[in-house]
């Protein structure tokens, strides 16, 4: 906790639990959100709200931005599905910008061999680069892509893909996104990135934010005093202070057509006023809130609510290493199909936040989805900031000294 910043070494190792000095670190857990197979059903949003009992964050209004009415991540919305409508020109641009990434000679990110996972991790992982060949999925569909989901103990009948996989020949399952030449509709489920070098965690003055043994970042709601520094510290705009945290079901409805609204009786009015006076306050009002990657479920070995609810396995959960591998295979596969707009977001341990625990496969530039194109954890520059401030403070003392010396005795 007293360590100033996590150096690049920590970033390269990929598991930030080492910085937190856990005696028994677990493998780092994370999400892989494959936006190419997201259908925008918002099951993740609903499951997240329900499991975490998050209050409504606004009145029920339409935001006039496609099917997106939850607007963005915040204190009360920890999963957010973005909807982007694009025309052909934009598709072409996205394809071009993705192709440009290839020719840049990006680093080849291989999973660190012989890491923590050892033999069993290798067993889950499908043979490298099978997806690089074009054609239907063969290898990844059974193990790699749903590896995280199969780990969940109580998937039961919900485990669509694996049941499909057993019933139907896997080559029959086509998860190629439909190629519509005229336009496309992008959907992407956004979530806290659980950064390797987390800005929110670094700047938290109370220690309310902490690194869990699974490498995720979680707020202790009974410690946080709502100073709001973490809100500004997050380069992704994820964490937010919960305003009032009042969760009230809507009771008023406009009358049905043809029915005249009954004038509320005095007793009704009094009852309503009574209810309105004492809205049930959520216990976490005034406290910073964000995705916990379902820490409570995770400690019981369960899959986070959003990943479990996702019907298309667009959201996968598992060890981060495996997530990155399946993400890399998926992007190679899409590129082999000529869909060069596909790219990964957050898989690079050398980026400004040391890589993210939640890895995304995007089909356009990050800013199109409301993600920053080059995020950088502010604390990375903190030593320099302290140094500059030290010089400035010394200057101030010197100026004061000079004023008294120059001002003489009188």
């Amino acid at each position: 906790m007293v360590q100033l910043t996590q150096g690049p070494d920590a970033a390269v190792e990929g598991n930030p639990t080492a910085d937190a000095h856990y005696e028994h670190p677990h493998p780092r857990k994370g999400f892989f959100t494959d936006t190419s197979i997201c259908i925008g059903c918002k099951a993740c949003e609903v499951a997240c709200k329900e499991w975490n009992r998050n209050p409504v964050d606004s009145d029920y209004t339409l935001s006039n931005s496609s099917f997106d009415n939850s607007e963005g991540l915040g204190a009360d919305t920890w999963r957010h599905v973005a909807f982007v409508e694009q025309d052909r020109q934009r598709v072409e641009e996205a394809r071009e910008s993705g192709r440009a990434l290839v020719s840049l000679g990006m680093p080849t990110l291989r999973a660190p061999g012989g890491g923590t996972g050892g033999a069993d991790a290798g067993a889950i992982r499908p043979s490298a680069r099978t997806g690089a060949r074009s054609g239907p999925l063969d290898g990844p569909i059974d193990a790699g892509l749903v590896g995280g989901l199969q780990a969940g103990p109580d998937m039961g009948g919900l485990d669509v893909l694996s049941s499909l996989g057993s019933a139907v020949d896997s080559s029959a399952v086509d998860i190629t996104p439909p190629d519509t030449p005229e336009f496309r509709w992008l959907m992407s489920s956004d979530v806290c990135k659980h950064c390797t070098n987390a800005g929110c965690l670094d700047v938290c003055p109370t220690g309310a934010l902490f690194r869990t043994e699974h490498g995720t970042v979680v707020v202790q709601d009974d410690v946080c005093n709502g100073c709001g520094t973490c809100v500004a510290g997050c380069p992704f705009g994820v964490i937010e202070r919960r305003k009032d945290g009042i969760a009230q079901p809507k009771t008023d409805r406009s009358p049905a057509p043809g029915v005249h609204a009954e004038k509320p009786s005095k007793a009704d009015k009094a009852e309503k006023a009574d209810k309105a006076e004492k809205p049930k306050k959520n216990k976490n009002s005034g406290v910073a809130q964000k995705c916990t990657l379902c820490y409570d479920r995770m400690t019981d070995g369960q899959t986070p609510a959003c990943a479990q609810a996702c019907p298309t396995t667009s959201i996968r959960y598992g060890e981060r290493e495996d997530m990155v591998v399946s993400a890399q295979e998926r992007v190679a596969q899409l590129h082999a199909q000529g869909r060069t707009e596909a790219r990964l977001y957050g898989a690079n341990p050398k980026d400004g936040v040391g890589g993210t625990g939640s890895v995304f496969l995007l089909l356009d530039e990050p800013e199109v989805y409301g993600l920053p194109p080059d995020p950088r954890v502010p604390t990375r520059d903190l030593p320099r900031m302290y140094a500059r401030a030290g010089i400035a403070m010394a200057g101030m003392v010197a100026a004061a000294g000079l004023a008294f010396l120059g001002g003489g005795r009188r």
Partner: protein, 384 residues
């Protein structure tokens, strides 16, 4: 004519729109719009006045081609939930820090009135600032959680400790002077001797923590993802310590007779020069997009007037500082200038979170610059 009771739920009919011509670059050819319009033109439903014509139940599709570098223009980063109380704390911290330096100087050079007034100013400003800071918390009753840990990676944590230490020193020093001012009538008993003994070291402690108190808030603001604050990280501390110097000097010139304020006037003039130069230098070095919030709108106005007031106050101090009234007016101008600077910087950073342009454009630019320089392995976007 209404034929069904459900018709009252229909939106009001808008006048028929012709094809929009606002996209000259051929975007209209793309997507379903062309087809939709063709259908309209084929005269599928001629317009009649009896409500029987075809009515679009959904608005025409609009592709997000115009705003391709943001998501519906929504902010990417979130502004901290700080309101004017935090801005007021920034001002108070500067006043308190600068005053403690003046008080220590006065203590060493035997300027009794200046020492007393600046000590009381330091304590009052620190007290008001601390209260404002606590009141701005989401859970004010848990403010003491700041004191449960020391965290070097958190400027807020260090700042809390600086403020606590400073307040202790400034409080003891000011208590001694207040006791003296009241003719030692306070029922202190044997504590008075102790107070006298620790008075000087306490003033020293406050002076030691004075510059950090005045300047750490610059780091607090810069150590965020707010584009304007973060981009000012190299020079904002200089702006803040300068503005703290002029604020503390200004207050001293208001409260204290001119015969003892010569050092305060000297510090004020030095501070004005440093403030104007540092602010201009900072703005010149910032990203041309990230600096915009500092130069436009409400923060732009505040920064502009801050500079004017600082220069006016500096000239007044230099020319008429030995005149009591001129000194007080100049001092007031300087304090206001300092407050404007801090409020301006505060608002500019919060504003810079509201428009995704301030986040996206500088980031894309620095990414492109790194790629041009041959660094291609540190992008968050990869294809492998």
């Amino acid at each position: 004519m209404t034929t069904s009771e459900f018709d009252s739920y229909r939106p009001p009919e808008e006048p028929r729109r012709r094809r929009r011509r606002d996209r000259p670059d051929g975007h209209e050819k793309a997507g379903g719009r062309e087809q939709g319009n063709r259908r309209h033109r084929s005269g599928l439903a001629p317009s009649t006045s009896d409500g029987g014509r075809e009515m679009a139940m959904v608005p025409e599709p609009q592709f997000s081609t115009t705003a391709s570098d943001s998501y519906y223009g929504r902010p990417i980063v979130k502004a901290p939930p700080w309101d004017e109380r935090v801005a007021a704390y920034l001002v108070c911290g500067g006043i308190a820090g600068g005053s403690s330096l003046l008080a220590f100087g006065a203590q060493l050079t035997g300027r009794d009135v200046l020492r007393r007034n600046t000590r009381i100013t330091a304590l009052a400003a620190a007290g008001v600032g601390a209260v404002a800071l606590v009141a701005d918390l989401g859970r004010p009753e848990r403010f003491y959680n700041m004191m449960r840990t020391v965290k070097l990676s958190s400027p807020m944590s260090l700042g809390s400790w600086v403020l606590a230490g400073f307040s202790t020193g400034a409080g003891v020093a000011a208590a001694a002077d207040v006791d003296r001012m009241l003719g030692e009538k306070l029922p202190l008993g044997p504590l008075r001797g102790m107070l006298r003994a620790v008075e000087a070291p306490a003033g020293g402690l406050a002076a030691l923590l004075g510059a950090p108190l005045a300047g750490y808030t610059a780091v607090l603001l810069s150590d965020t993802a707010m584009p304007t604050w973060n981009d000012a990280k190299d020079d904002l501390p200089f702006v803040f310590v300068s503005s703290a110097s002029i604020a503390a000097s200004g207050i001293a010139m208001i409260t204290t007779p001119v015969r003892q304020t010569a050092p305060a006037r000297a510090l004020a003039v030095l501070g004005v020069v440093a403030d104007v130069v540092a602010t201009r230098y900072m703005e010149a070095r910032m990203d041309p997009v990230a600096v915009e919030p500092l130069e436009t709108g409400r923060p732009g106005m505040l920064m502009k007037w801050s500079e004017r007031l600082a220069i006016a106050g500096g000239i007044g101090t230099l020319l008429g500082g030995r005149h009591r009234v001129v000194a007080a007016v100049s001092g007031a101008a300087l304090v206001t200038a300092s407050a404007f600077t801090r409020f301006g910087v505060f608002y500019a950073g919060k504003d810079s979170a509201q428009d995704p342009r301030f986040t996206v454009e500088p980031q894309k630019r620095r990414l492109a610059a790194r790629r041009r320089a041959g660094i291609t392995d540190d992008s968050i976007t990869t294809v492998r």
